[in-house]
Amino acid sequence: MNLATNLYHAGAEVFLLTMVCVILIADLFVAGRGKMFTYMMVQLTLLGCSFITVATHTDGVAIVFSNMYVDDLMSDVLKLLAYLAVSMMLVYSRTYLLTRGLFSGEFMSLALFALLGMMVMISASHFLTLYLGLELLSLSLYAMVALQRDSAVATEAAMKYFILGALASGLLLYGMSMIYGATGSLEIYKISDAIEQGVYNKQLLVFGLVFVVSGLAFKLGAVPFHMWVPDVYHGAPTPMTLLIGSAPKLAAFAFVMRILVEALQPLAIQWSSMLAIMAILSIAIGNLSAIAQTNIKRMFAYSTIAHMGYLLLGVLSGTIEGYSSAMFYAVTYVLMTLGGFGMIMLMSREGFEADNLSDYKGLNQRSPWLAFMMLLLMFSMAGVPPTVGFYAKFSVLQAVVQTGHFALAIIAVLFSLVGAFFYLRVVKLMYFDTPESHEPIQYQADTSLLITFNGLGVLFLGILPGTLMSICAVSVQQSLLLH
């Protein structure tokens, strides 16, 4: 493969990196009000990336850069969704950041660097690129959480995130080095070939697998490696929480797929039982702890832990239906999270954070449309039909039942009923309680348009999930069978 072919497949990454460097420099020359210029440039960059990703799409699986970069349908779909998520995050958080003096060029360029890290992770086919992508993503996120220097809570959250993230990276690297020792390769396809041909040291491989799974669980925030999630979600400024909670989950899904499914498929018996324990614990602890929260950001954090449990349920079933339903779950989770945190930022204003549950009391009287959108999002997170959350949970459970794990499915359903309580409590607060304040909610036209798009999207995808579901199924199938 010559350089031109390599660069053709990685066109979106190259374009993004070039544009980030341009934005970094251009931002220095536009002062004060000119931040809108930077913002528009960032949005245009994201648009350009999506055009390039669509234009350079090739059928089948292309592996370039000496087997370090893979370009398949799954990576293209996940990247497009990641662009969308980052772009929506910027729209939601613009006003919020402007009123708090955090709307800087650094914020936007770090967000783009984080996106670059996700893209590297999504199309990595080598442990080295997987790890480097992860570090690029994490490093940008640590810095973004710490950007609000005057807030003690944010600094504490950044510190916790950094230390636990470093620990998780250590575990992951140790596991990877063990797998390298056992199979003699860091390339994902060579590892799976070595295992299939039986040229490997099984003891060492399973030993490494334990560390890799622990590292992955840390990054996903699955129990028992979840303790950082509530603190970071709560402490970080809301736009950063939104960024941490949304697009990186797509990258994490790709990460799990590349390591566990594409490289270590023959060890499925071992890892699926590890994932089963983590999935059930995550669903149980996430849903139960969320009930006790009075802060909505903390509540969403525990709900994330539970959602990651459902995602793992899809992966552990070990079938193509299971993987595609996990991918569908990741996509819908990102859509719901964007809406949920977007609503928090919409309700906040200068000097006021709408992050307590009581701030949502009587929202229906203050703004019926916003309340309706929040209702749709909450129904979707709880899994109430006809929203997309119902279909996502349903397809994951269907995959689990098909492989005969009835006990897992029953426990998951029971705890999702428990979880419905705290989502519906928000709905009750909005519709049946009297508001505590009658301050008008100020928002920009683009934000309200986006929340409408977001809420109705959740409803629309719930009524017609077929297209997205088949895209997920085809992309998972292609990347698994054609290498």
Binding site: N6, A10, L17, L24, F65, S66, M68, Y69, S104, E106, S109, L110, F113, L116, V120, H126, L128, T129, L132, G133, E135, L136, L139, S140, Y142, A143, A146, L147, R149, N201, Q203, L204, V206, F207
Partner: protein, 204 residues
Amino acid sequence: MNVESLVFYVFAALMIFAGLRVITARNPVHSAMFLVLAFCSASGIWMLLEAEFLSITLVLVYVGAVMVLFLFVVMMLDINLDQLREGFWRWFPFGAALALVMVGEMVYVLGNRKTAATEGLVRHAADYSNIKELGRLIYTDYVYPFEIAAVVLLVAMVAAIALTLRRRIGVKSQNPGKQVLVKKADRLRIVPVAAEKSGSDRAA
């Protein structure tokens, strides 16, 4: 046991000892010095593996540059270790028990089976160049991860500047550029003063 493995064990034992002292030494300056020792022993092990370039880079970059900077920082900060170690002994039994369980499990998995002895390393010819091979790999097969590593460093730079640069308002400072550009007309005002009439007027 030949000389080579003897040297290896000496370096390895030295490294483990130094590593332990890094976390147990009471004085942070001593910890930093033990870290230097650990790096030196690691570079010795690399030298044994015939990775001369990496070995020398480790000494030059880590010992020569990074650790010196580190020592400066440690000496400048007034760290109160007793405050840091507060509660250490309260949590020690819990942590030690957890560590023992982990080590036990790892020994159980890896220790009780004889792993196949690995074949000895293939020796390279005397004129084999480490640097050349590294350079070739970095700019051919590993160019993609190499570039990403560069981006990671760029992010570190952007983040460090974004987190530490504070534009203070109301600080009085000189701008040499503007000072140089000053013209005579900006600073010097010639006031026409009428000549004095006589000494007797002043007295009045």
